[in-house]
Amino acid sequence: MSSSPVSTSSAASRVPVEERLFSLVLALLATESGLTKNEILSTVQGYRQKFRAGGDNANLERQFERDKDDIRDLGVPLETIDSPGDVGNNQTLRYRIPRGAYELPADIRFSSDETTLLNLAAMVWREGSLSGESRRALLKLRSLGVAADEPTLGYAPRVRLRDAAFEPLSSALEKHLIVRFPYLKPGEDHAREREVIPLALVQYQGRWHLSAEEVEGEGARKTYLLRRIVGPVEFGKAAPARPGDHAAAALAGLDEVWERGVAEVDVVCDSDAATRLSNRRGTERLAPETDGREARLRLHYVDLEILADELAGFGPEVLVVSPHELRDAVIARLERTVRDHG
């Protein structure tokens, strides 16, 4: 068998999805001037078998629309060109994939050290949509032929994506859409609807935050904890462009809040609380009390309510000294737990 058979129209419905998508990419890469939709549907493998010349191809057209989205999601720059003198006409619109925008620039190559690091970076995402994105990124990386210089068996790093709001928000960021969601602020009885322009999703100290600009009022920049988004995220209209490195700005902003947030607690020496709290970034050990059974620690925090939850978990191993809001919050939590279990 030296040449290969092309699927015949009798096998029409059996052209696998990936074969149709692959054929579409090849056809659009090969064309300089672009192909019209009609040309694509009537000639490209996977479409042509279902194409009815002069007939109704509405289903096939919808298929093509979905395929275009899938291909673009993979980072393939599928562009449209209006035909001169016929701008806006769908029938004469031409599709193509410009080679320069498709191919990885020649100066972007990765050493084996870098490949090792990227393999590890991809391992960080083992749940949610980012695990699929990482998997596909690694396939493209391997395309370049560089092997990692050491196995990554010694590490299993992982960042969690367990907030239900993460997926819709990341998709809104990608598509530049305004979003609405119900947000429950601590101390408030009811969630309030927020309408915002999403800017970045960042994980800070193990928790995911959304940095966003309010649509109402002055357009203030706010940070929302994903855990407090208590209902579905709804997509609104297209969001205005907001250029800038919002992820870095959001992390820097959280760092400032963390610097300012200071609590002092007494911990029982050698308790789990003493060990774990002392080993947190930024914790300072103040002079131990005279009897040597307790030590005073100064901690930094971003969110008082979250710190109160954590400290309540340590039960009698921790006594909050200041601020008093934190002290009250911890007492209220412990009392609640007593009531719920009494």
Partner: protein, 338 residues
């Protein structure tokens, strides 16, 4: 990669086809097994992809996918010797760019890893991130993870106190030598342990060492923030991750036959926080807007801390001894303020 090859979705398959072609161009005559190893796929997945590539192409001048418009391979070499030789190339010259989201996933992953001691070279990480950005077809989406590479005012941010321990453990894993360390359990008891370090694991900001504990004669998970006075010995490790009696499961909290089962009620939104402790196949029933389910814990010391850190969110329903343990813990906490 360590993980087993998985079945692929159509989008994965397309990404794979577009990636495989340039690699095959650079590796003329590669064996199916080499390609499988390089891409982390099964030989069968490689064969299917090559067969698909070999019958694909462009409509061409005639719109009829004529012979010269198609990829072709040396079928004899492929079928008889499992070698892949492309004899006709179509349309593809080079590797594809990353998508904005793919680049963003890797960049955020790198930010997270920049907290690791061996990645202290921030210049190298920054240059890698910029390459990913330039190699993406659109600006990477705005996803970030806290790590050393992210903070603008790096010098003002306090160093991570666990970094020295982490560096020590990494060195011992790499050299394959035993560690000695003090480990304090959740009840505050401290023991000197000798450990064959096998893997460093993390979940968000929590870091763990998986290793063979010579005291317990079993694989154990050690929280880094409960380790102190660790030293590297010159003793080679006696147990390896590849040994048949050593299992390193993907989940951090592994059920054991000695576990205690407790019934809890939890608000639905907090369920994801507890999934590690809920055994597979546990029944969950909705009850007054709360979910009733089973939790597995190795002892009540862990349970009382977990439940007390989720006040009003999770409540122990049964058995009475578990409720009493939680209540006593919280009551002792309240007593500190009286």
């Amino acid at each position: 990669m360590a993980e087993r090859p998985q079945p692929l979705q159509a989008r994965d398959k397309l990404a794979f086809l577009l990636s495989l072609v340039p690699w095959l161009m650079d590796h003329d005559g590669a064996k199916v097994s080499e390609a499988a190893e390089h891409f982390g796929m099964t030989p069968q997945q490689i064969r299917e992809a090559v067969e698909l590539i070999a019958v694909s192409g462009v409509p061409g001048e005639t719109d009829a996918y004529q012979h010269g418009d198609l990829f072709d391979i040396n079928w004899d070499a492929f079928e008889e010797r499992d070698e892949i030789v492309i004899t006709n190339l179509v349309a593809i010259d080079d590797s594809p760019r990353f998508s904005a989201r793919e680049a963003a996933a890797l960049i955020a992953g790198l930010q997270y890893l920049s907290a690791l001691p061996e990645n202290a070279d921030r210049g190298a990480i920054a240059s890698l991130m910029s390459k990913l950005s330039r190699g993406a077809s659109a600006a990477p989406s705005q996803v970030g993870v806290e790590g050393a590479a992210t903070a603008g005012g790096i010098d003002t941010v306090a160093p991570d106190p666990l970094a020295p321990t982490l560096a020590l453990i990494r060195e011992s894993v790499e050299r394959g030598v035993q560690l000695e360390l003090d480990y304090q359990n959740s009840q505050g008891q401290r023991e000197r342990r000798r450990v064959d370090p096998l893997r460093v694991e993390s979940i968000d900001t929590d870091w763990y060492l998986r290793g063979w504990c010579h005291l317990r004669e079993a694989v154990r998970t050690f929280r880094l923030d409960r380790i102190s006075n660790a030293i590297i010995t010159e003793q080679p490790i006696e147990h390896r991750a590849s040994d048949s009696d050593v299992r390193l499961p993907d989940v951090l909290f592994e059920p054991s036959p000695d576990d205690l089962e407790v019934t809890i009620e939890v608000v639905p939104s907090a369920m994801p926080l507890l999934t590690d402790y809920i055994p597979d196949g546990a029944t969950t029933v909705e009850h007054d807007g709360r979910i009733r389910t089973t939790l597995r814990v190795s002892h009540y010391h862990g349970l009382k801390r977990l439940i007390a850190s989720m006040p009003g969110v999770a409540t122990v329903v049964a058995p009475p001894s578990a409720r009493a343990a939680v209540e006593a813990w919280a009551r002792a906490g309240v007593a500190r303020y009286r």
